[in-house]
């Protein structure tokens, strides 16, 4: 009895000592399929690092953004690893809110990260966030409907071709809309699409002196084309549709074409959830022959806030989650098609991945076609393809998004929406001190 008590005591003491030694890191993330999968696979990390335990905080995207901003601005220290996007990284890194990732390990192979993605996550040559998955945008289309329309989708279509194809594919009697595009207001919703689209029409948010450009003909052409296209060939109530709504429509066979995130390819080609899985083709985002395509660049990435007390453990985790080893781990457990896309060049050279993901080449080509440092036809003073990497953009982008969404819903004219956008942008830039 005494021996048992003693043994139990010793075991408890050693467990306590281990618990005291173990370091616990808190990771803030969003509820995306790839992120959820990572949470399920963390045993692999904790086995290799028994002294580190992981706590997950999963939040809705906008709440996550607000929470991590509050925490990082007040140095609350609630998180050791944050999931952030290419919009936040340059702004936060410049404010010294993030730690540079310079201890990712010898076998990490940072040079393997796709250059366009690495560029969006670096400031002054230093990587401040490691990409977990990256995306651009492209055209997903129904091959059967395209055949029925007697057309062939080129690998790199123009906007005129998209309009022509949408007109022919629209079949209201059978509930088929020629094209589905984002209309829901928000800087990360309709404005992500419209900003990227405007780049291909030669438009820009600001000139070199930060003067808003919504009063220029390029923006008028962009918005008019978008509104006309959606009115003629878009779904009903399109001004309320974001990524998820359009995904549902496409999966149910109600869209001839959908121009959105490349990551959607894995959803629409999944026979478990998509009724059109075997009928989907892919093409680059459209252009107008001006040298820029209407595709964006985004990467959900893992960054370490400067206020953390557990930087080493956090960086070990970031290194594991964004490594080649993690890609192989996902492939071994769930197949190559489920490996987080858009981050490493080596993945696209992998024959198994190419076989499992028919959209792989088009995804890589789309990512490579985006240049966040030179996003527009005319010169601009900012970086970012579908956003402007300044703190004011979240608020301003959403305001302009509401105006454009109202134009799509028919609540205002294109001219009125552009005039109000110009006024709002001028006021925001003046208040922010960009316009003297």
């Amino acid at each position: 009895m005494k021996l048992r008590t003693l043994t139990l005591g010793l075991l408890s003491a050693s467990a306590l000592a281990f618990a005291a030694h173990a370091e616990s890191i808190t990771i803030a993330t969003v509820n995306n399929g790839d992120m959820v999968r990572m949470q399920k696979l963390t045993d692999d990390f904790t086995k290799a690092n028994p002294d580190i335990t992981l706590n997950w905080v999963t939040l809705e995207e906008n709440v996550l953004r607000e929470r991590v901003t509050t925490d990082i601005a007040t140095k609350g220290g609630q998180y050791d690893v944050m999931t952030i996007g290419t919009y936040e990284v340059p702004i936060w890194a410049k404010q010294s809110w993030l730690l540079p990732l310079d201890k990712l390990g010898d076998d990490y192979d940072a040079k393997d990260i796709i250059p366009a993605i690495a560029g969006g996550l670096s400031v002054d040559g230093k990587l401040y966030a490691a990409p977990f998955y990256g995306e651009s945008s492209f055209v997903m289309y129904r091959k059967d409907l395209m055949d029925k329309a007697g057309l062939k989708m080129p690998d790199a279509p123009t906007w005129d071709f998209i309009k022509q194809a949408a007109d022919k594919m629209t079949d209201r009697a059978n509930g088929v809309n020629g094209v589905c595009l984002r209309g829901k207001a928000g800087w990360g919703e309709n404005m992500a699409f419209l900003t990227a689209m405007s780049n291909s029409f030669g438009a820009r948010w600001f000139d070199e002196n930060w003067k808003p450009q919504f009063d220029q003909p390029e923006w008028k052409k962009t918005l008019q084309f978008y509104v006309d296209l959606m009115k003629a060939d878009g779904p009903e109530g399109a001004s309320s549709n974001g990524f998820n709504e359009n995904l549902a429509l496409f999966q149910q066979g109600k869209c001839g074409m959908w121009i959105d995130a490349t990551v959607a390819a894995s959803f629409v080609s999944d026979p478990k959830n998509s009724t059109v899985a075997d009928k989907v083709g892919y093409a680059l985002a459209p252009d107008n022959g001006l040298g820029k395509r209407g595709n964006w660049l985004w990467a959900w990435s893992l960054a370490i806030p400067a206020g953390t007390q557990k930087a080493d453990a956090a960086e070990k985790f970031v290194s594991w989650a964004t490594s080649k080893h993690y890609a192989e781990l996902v492939a071994s457990k769930e197949g190559w098609a489920n490996v987080p896309p858009g981050t490493r060049s080596s993945l696209y050279a992998n024959a198994d991945y190419q076989k499992a993901a028919p959209f792989a080449k088009m995804t890589l080509d789309s990512i490579n076609a985006a240049d966040p440092t030179h996003p527009t036809v005319k010169p601009v003073p900012y970086v970012g393809v579908q956003f402007v990497a300044i703190p004011e953009f979240q608020g301003l982008g959403t305001t302009v998004g509401q105006l454009f969404s109202a134009a799509l819903a028919g609540q205002s004219s294109v001219d009125d929406a552009l005039k109000q956008a110009q006024d709002a942008a001028t006021a925001a830039m003046t208040e922010g001190g960009y316009i003297k």
Binding site: N31, N32, V63, T74, N244
Partner: protein, 274 residues
């Protein structure tokens, strides 16, 4: 003739009440139905007949661990309600039985704090919590929820206490009851129905509070509001899972509300008709 008109009115009123009740309850009902569908069924248009699969519940439990969040919700709502009552009973007592010229102003001022948008004080509150070491702590959140709901609790108790004749308290004083004894042994037992209604309402309000409970917690103190939030996805259709998470989050408070509805209705309409 008069009787048939009255019966007709009653029938119309009953039918109208049922229609309104069904309209109000329908989103909850559809959420529950959707939780028993597969993800593919969930996006395939309107249907009131689910396949009855439990896979969303299994995945929700496997992904997030419901019971930790549930326990936090129970502790936070009950704890904050007890704290609120401890503060509000003496406050309402003094305002009901020893009013001053400014009592009405104070009551109005307390209520006016509810009209302020919460986000306006997010940063100051966050900094106070950070400096006091209360971020992601149950105690901190109990205090926060108590403060948020205190104006309503004081108002409700004040209304109930005003219905109690002051002479009874005077009689107790004549018999030598101390202030403590007066509140605990005379006032409180007489106001039990009102206090119970206030408690129930406060528990529901605290259970449903989503602004602060999501923003001041991370892992240890996160309640069911954070649990639901974690199933909202920007890229991916997880409506069945989100519905299952919502059903799990609202079920306890819905059941509690169902069993205590008489008490709640009585409390909410108390003093409304004089």
């Amino acid at each position: 003739m008069a009787r048939s008109v009255t019966t007709q009115h009653k029938t119309i009123a009953t039918a109208a009440a049922w229609i309104v009740a069904l309209l109000i309850f329908f989103p909850i009902l559809y959420t529950i139905i959707t939780s028993f569908k597969s993800e593919q069924e969930a996006i395939q248009g309107f249907s009131m007949i689910p396949s009855g699969t439990m896979e969303s519940y299994a995945e929700v439990q496997a992904q997030s661990g419901y019971f930790k969040f549930f326990l936090n919700s129970v502790l936070l709502s009950v704890g904050s309600t007890i704290l609120a009552l401890l503060v509000a009973i003496p406050a309402a007592w003094s305002m009901a039985f020893s009013p001053t010229k400014r009592t009405k102003d104070i009551l109005m001022w307390m209520l006016s704090t509810k009209m302020m948008p919460a986000v306006a004080v997010l940063f100051p509150i966050y900094l106070i919590f950070r400096d006091a070491g209360l971020l992601d702590s149950r105690i901190g959140l109990m205090i926060m929820l108590m403060l948020i709901n205190l104006p309503i609790v004081v108002w409700m108790l004040y209304t109930y206490f005003r219905e109690i004749p002051g002479e009874i308290l005077e009689a107790a004083r004549m018999d030598g009851a101390s202030l403590w004894n007066e509140i605990v042994y005379v006032l409180t037992p007489m106001a039990v129905p009102g206090i119970a209604s206030t408690m129930l309402l406060n528990i529901i309000l605290a259970w449903n509070e989503a602004f602060w409970t999501i923003r001041l917690t991370t892992t240890e103190a996160a309640p069911l509001t954070a649990f639901i939030s974690s199933f909202s996805s920007p890229q991916g259709l997880f409506w069945a899972k989100l519905s299952a998470a919502s059903t799990l989050a609202i079920a306890p408070i819905l059941i509690m509300g169902w069993f205590s509805q008489k008490q709640l209705v009585r409390g909410l309409t108390f003093g409304a008709v004089k």
